[in-house]
């Protein structure tokens, strides 16, 4: 799956619009993922996952930061996410299926907070981008 020039423009547009709220989007996406797909909590036994958790907020900020970094280097996702890819392969080993779940939640967050932004074309581009990120993060698993 390849990101077209239009996809890249669409994705950059989304993140430009989200701007400084990216951290909140990240935390919101994580919260929704834990509630909607409880099995994802198994990766965070060391976290307080209650509502408003500072740890979830902090982790949401990390995740959002990584997405922003990826967008800023959208022509070389593998390069931009190389260290994170190593981390996920060697240490975290999050089952690949979970990246789709977080991706779905991120799309829902964009839809709830900025519905006008998520036209069908942008929806398609953002979904592709999130898939591509997941693919890079799991690329070194075996």
């Amino acid at each position: 799956m390849v990101l077209s020039a239009a996809d890249k423009t669409n994705v950059k547009g989304v993140f430009a619009k989200i701007g400084g709220q990216a951290d909140e989007y990240g935390a919101d996406a994580l919260e929704r993922m834990f509630v909607t797909y409880p099995q994802t909590k198994t990766y965070f036994p060391h976290f307080d996952l209650g509502k408003g958790s500072a740890q979830v907020k902090g982790h949401g900020k990390k995740v959002a930061g990584a997405l922003v970094e990826a967008v800023n280097h959208i022509d070389d996702l593998a390069g931009a996410l190389s260290k994170l890819s190593d981390l996920h392969a060697q240490k975290l080993r999050v089952d690949p299926v979970n990246f789709k779940l977080l991706g779905q939640c991120f799309l829902v967050v964009v839809a709830t907070r900025n519905p006008g932004l998520l036209t069908p074309e942008v929806h398609a581009s953002l979904d592709k981008f999130l898939c591509a990120v997941g693919t890079v993060l799991t690329a070194k698993y075996r």
């Binding site: 509630v35 909607t36 839809a111 709830t112 519905p115 998520l118 069908p120 074309e121 929806h123 398609a124």
Partner: protein, 147 residues
């Protein structure tokens, strides 16, 4: 046997009461065909699907989207018997339509996003969780008679 809490049933019916089935169905199906273009394989006789604009404006897409979501409404009236509700449709999708059940999951996810965009902040995490559960169970019921 599926269990629905009183809260889940409330979240489903209160959202559904405010859904325009025709608009929502048309949008969900159009987005499925746009976001996951390989799903167009089932609609080769629908005419012009050559661009997002064409898909969104395609009257057959709109009509079929309405049909699909109307059927969803039946599920909501029969939350305790999704298997029975979808038994014949499951056979149809397997034997006549030859649709990979993965497509039901894709459409379910799209429907959740359409609802999220419509209801914005009212589409709380609990609401999302309930609706993802529902679309997952509908997909499962539709796949149940496959052989």
């Amino acid at each position: 046997m599926v269990h629905w809490s009183a809260e889940e049933k409330q979240l489903i019916t209160s959202v559904w009461a405010k859904v325009n089935v025709e608009e929502c169905g048309a949008e969900a199906l159009a987005r499925l065909l746009i976001v996951y273009p390989w799903t167009q394989r089932f609609f080769s006789d629908f005419g012009n699907l050559s661009s997002p604009t064409a898909i969104i404006g395609n009257p057959r897409v709109r009509a079929h989207g309405k049909k699909v979501l109307t059927s969803f409404g039946e599920a909501i009236k029969n939350l305790d018997n999704l298997k029975g509700t979808y038994s014949k449709l499951s056979e149809l999708h397997c034997d006549k339509l030859h649709v990979d059940p993965e497509n039901f999951r894709l459409l379910g996810d799209i429907l959740v996003i359409v609802l999220a965009a419509h209801f914005t902040k009212d589409f709380t995490p609990a609401c999302q969780a309930t609706w993802q559960k529902l679309v997952g169970l509908v997909a499962h019921a539709l796949a149940r008679k496959y052989h």
